[in-house]
C-alpha cells in the first residue's frame, strides 16, 4: 500500500488522529496553544457525521464531553493549563462514573495565565492529582507530531478499555510545530468500539459498574444509552450505579478504580529506550525535552560517555517497573524536564539514592539545550569517578 507523505502541525495531528480513533464529538473553549485542535475539529467533524460545539467555558466543555460519551459517542476536549484547571471537577466525575473521555492539555508556561505561547511541562502533577480524592488516571505524552497522531488513538482506546478519563499532555512547541511523516493508513489502527445497547441480550439487566463482566475480561464496558437505562452518579455507588452509604462498599469502589489500572500495567505502560544495551548512564526525558535528550545522548556518546535514554509515553501510571530495572543497571541518571522537578520528584522516590541523580530543569519558557544535558552527564561521570 502506498504511504502518503504528509506535513502536519502537532495540534492538527492530535485532531486528525482523534478522528481516526473514532472520536465524533468535540466540545471546547478557545485557548492558546490548544485552539488549533478545536479549529480542525470544527472543520473535520461534520465531514464524518460528528458534532462540534464551542461551549461557553471549560466547565461546560468537560461536562458536555462526558455527557456525549455516556450517550455512546467517543468524545474529546482540548485546552491548556487555565482551562485544564477549570475542568478538574468534571475530570473527577469522569473517573467516578468511569466514563471514557480524552482531555488534551497543550501546556503553556504556568501557573495562571503564565506564558501562553511558551513551552512548559508544568502540568505533570496536575494530570495525576488535579481533581480531588484518590482516583485512577492514565496520561500519555507524545514527543513528535507523528507520535501525537498515533498515540491519541491509543488514548481513546485506553479510555474505552479501562473506562477512565485519559489525559493527553502536549507541549506548546509540539502543538505549534510542523513536521513531516508518513501518514499511517487507518487500517494500521485497531480501535475499541463502544457496545451498543441493542447488542445486549434482552434479558440482561445492564449493571454499568459490575466488577466481573461477562461482556469483557474484567472491566464492564460502557454501553450506549437506550435499552440499558442505567443511572450514573458522582456519589459513591454500587454495581448498579445507585448511591450507597456503607463505607465498606465505598472502599471496594475505590480499590476497583485503582486496581483496574494496576492489573493492566503491562498493556498500559508505553515507553521507548535508546542505546541502553551498554549504557552506564541514562537520561530520562519526555515530550519535547526527549528530543533535546536524544541529541544530548548522541553528543555524549561521541565524547565517549556510554549513555542511553528512557522516554516514557505513559507518564501516569508512573513507569516504576521499567525504570527500577534500569536503575539497577546504571551508575547514574539525568532527569530533564521543563518544570521545577515534578517527574524528578517521582523519580527520586523510586531511586531512593540507589544511583546518583542529576536534574536539568527549566521553567523560563525556553527549551532545554542538549549541551545542558551533556554538562549534567559530565558532572555525573565526575561524581561516580570520585
Amino acid at each position: 500500500m502506498d504511504k502518503k507523505f504528509t506535513i502536519m502541525q502537532g495540534d492538527e495531528a492530535c485532531a486528525m488522529g482523534a478522528i481516526v480513533a473514532g472520536c465524533r464529538f468535540f466540545a471546547g473553549y478557545p485557548i492558546t496553544p490548544a485552539t488549533d485542535i478545536a479549529e480542525v475539529m470544527s472543520s473535520e467533524l461534520p465531514k464524518v457525521g460528528g458534532t462540534f460545539i464551542q461551549m461557553e467555558d471549560e466547565l461546560g466543555s468537560a461536562a458536555a464531553i462526558i455527557g456525549a460519551s455516556l450517550a455512546g459517542v467517543k468524545s474529546l476536549t482540548a485546552t491548556s493549563g487555565p482551562g485544564f484547571s477549570l475542568m478538574q471537577e468534571a475530570f473527577g466525575y469522569a473517573s467516578m462514573t468511569e466514563t471514557p473521555t480524552v482531555f488534551v492539555d497543550v501546556q503553556r508556561g504556568s501557573p495562571s495565565t503564565g506564558l501562553p505561547t511558551r513551552p512548559a511541562q508544568g502540568d505533570i502533577m496536575q494530570a495525576r492529582w488535579g481533581t480531588h480524592g484518590d482516583h485512577a488516571v492514565i496520561a500519555l505524552y507524545p514527543s513528535t507530531v507523528e507520535e501525537t497522531y498515533r498515540y491519541i488513538v491509543t488514548a481513546f482506546n485506553f479510555a474505552e478499555l479501562y473506562r477512565t478519563p485519559v489525559v493527553f499532555l502536549m507541549d506548546e512547541t509540539l502543538g505549534h510545530m510542523r513536521e513531516s511523516f508518513y501518514l499511517p493508513h487507518t487500517d494500521e489502527f485497531d480501535t475499541v468500539e463502544r457496545i451498543q445497547t441493542e447488542d445486549l441480550k434482552s434479558e440482561t439487566v445492564y449493571q454499568p459498574f459490575l466488577e466481573d463482566s461477562e461482556l469483557y475480561d474484567d472491566i464492564q464496558p460502557l454501553v450506549s444509552m437506550g435499552r440499558s437505562r442505567f443511572h450514573v452518579s458522582g456519589l459513591f455507588h454500587d454495581e448498579s450505579g445507585f448511591p450507597i452509604g456503607e463505607s465498606d462498599l465505598a472502599s471496594k469502589l475505590m480499590k476497583h478504580f485503582t486496581n483496574k489500572i494496576k492489573l493492566h500495567l503491562d498493556d498500559i505502560l508505553i515507553y521507548d529506550t535508546y542505546m541502553m544495551d551498554d549504557a552506564e548512564y541514562v537520561i530520562v526525558a519526555y515530550g519535547i525535552t526527549a528530543r533535546s535528550a536524544y541529541r544530548a545522548m548522541k553528543l555524549a556518546r561521541s565524547n565517549g560517555i556510554k549513555v542511553g535514554m528512557f522516554k516514557p509515553i505513559t507518564i501516569w501510571p508512573f513507569p516504576t517497573i521499567p525504570l527500577k530495572k534500569i536503575l539497577s543497571k546504571v551508575s547514574g541518571i539525568v532527569v530533564a524536564e521543563l518544570n521545577m522537578g515534578q517527574f524528578a520528584h517521582e523519580m527520586s522516590r523510586i531511586n531512593r539514592n540507589m544511583v546518583p541523580m542529576q536534574t536539568v530543569l527549566r521553567e523560563d519558557g525556553q527549551l532545554i539545550q542538549p549541551f545542558d544535558i551533556v554538562d549534567a552527564l559530565t558532572k555525573l561521570e565526575g561524581e561516580s569517578e570520585e
Partner: protein, 276 residues
C-alpha cells in the same frame, strides 16, 4: 394518573425518596412522569440529566436513562447527550441554585443556542440540600441561614432570564397548580428547541420555616393565594404584582436551534466534499 400508573416510570426499589415530608419535589416529579405518560414516550428514548441538590436527586427515581451530575453543570452535560444522540428526548431537572447561580452561564447559553432540551427548574427559592442558604431566586427580605437579617439582594426572575436569553418555550406554574404544571411540562417536551419550565415548589424544611410560610400544605395554600394567571394580569400595575407569582406561558415560538442547524450544516459540508 394513579399510583400504579406512575410506578411504571419509577425505580420503585429505590423508594422512599430522600425528600422531607411536605417537600414539593415529589409533585414536580409526578407531573413530569404524567406528562411523559400522556405523550406515550418509550422509556428507552428519554434521558434525564440533573445537577446537585435535593431536587437533582430526582434522576435516581426515574426509570429512564439517567445522569446525576455536578452542581451547576446539568445543562452542559445534557448538551453533550443531546448532540451525541439527537434521537433522545433530553430533560434537565435542576434546582434554582443549580441553574441560576453556579450554572447560570450554561443556562443562558443553552437558551441562546435554542438547544433542544426541556429544563425543569425546581424553584424553591432556597438551597435545600446544603441546609437553607439564600439562592439567586430568594426574594429580597427573605430569611435564610446566610441571610439572617433578611436578604438584601435582588432575585433573578427565571422566566425573564430565559426569555431574554432566547428560550423558545417558557412557562411557569407552582406545585399547587398540578394540572397546569403537567400541561406545561408536556408542551415543553413536545416543543422543539429550548423549553424552560419554572416549577415553583416548596421547601417547608428551610424556606417555609425561616419565613413562617408554613409546612407543606401551608406553602401550597400560599401558592394558591398568591398566584395570578398571566392572562389576568396584563392590565395590572407593576406594584400590585410585586409579591405575586405570575403563572402561565410566557414564550411559545418556533426558531432554529443548534441541533437542527448542525444537522443542516453537516449536510451542506457533506454535499460539498462529495462534489469535490
Amino acid at each position: 394518573m394513579n399510583r400504579s400508573e406512575a410506578s411504571e416510570y419509577l425505580r420503585n426499589n429505590h423508594m422512599p425518596t430522600v425528600w422531607c415530608p411536605g417537600c414539593g419535589n415529589g409533585i414536580v416529579l409526578k407531573a413530569t412522569v404524567e406528562a411523559i405518560k400522556n405523550l406515550k414516550y418509550s422509556k428507552d428514548d428519554i434521558a434525564v440529566v440533573s445537577g446537585i441538590g435535593c431536587s437533582s436527586r430526582a434522576t435516581g427515581y426515574l426509570d429512564f436513562n439517567t445522569m446525576h451530575t455536578l452542581h451547576g453543570r446539568a445543562i452542559a452535560f445534557a448538551t453533550g447527550v443531546k448532540l451525541a444522540r439527537p434521537d433522545l428526548k433530553v430533560i434537565v431537572m435542576t434546582g434554582d441554585g443549580d441553574s441560576m447561580a453556579i450554572g447560570g452561564n450554561h443556562f443562558i447559553h443553552a437558551c441562546r443556542r435554542n438547544m433542544d432540551l426541556t429544563v425543569i427548574i425546581f424553584n424553591n427559592n432556597i438551597y435545600g440540600m446544603t441546609g437553607g442558604q439564600y439562592s439567586p431566586l430568594t426574594p429580597t427580605g427573605s430569611y435564610a441561614t446566610t441571610s439572617p437579617y433578611g436578604n438584601i439582594e435582588k432575585p433573578f426572575d427565571a422566566v425573564e432570564l430565559a426569555k431574554v436569553s432566547g428560550a423558545t418555550y417558557v412557562a411557569r406554574a407552582t406545585s399547587f397548580h398540578y394540572n397546569l404544571l403537567t400541561k406545561y411540562i408536556q408542551k415543553g417536551l413536545n416543543h422543539e428547541g429550548m423549553s424552560v419550565i419554572d416549577a415553583v415548589t416548596q421547601c417547608p424544611t428551610y424556606y417555609g420555616r425561616y419565613n413562617k410560610v408554613g409546612t407543606g400544605p401551608g406553602m401550597l395554600q400560599f401558592f394558591k393565594e398568591n398566584s395570578l394567571l398571566l392572562s389576568k394580569v396584563k392590565d395590572m400595575p407593576q406594584e400590585e404584582l410585586e409579591e405575586k407569582i405570575v403563572i402561565g406561558e410566557f414564550v411559545e415560538m418556533e426558531k432554529p436551534g443548534y441541533v437542527n442547524e448542525y444537522a443542516k450544516l453537516r449536510k451542506r459540508v457533506e454535499a460539498k466534499s462529495h462534489a469535490k
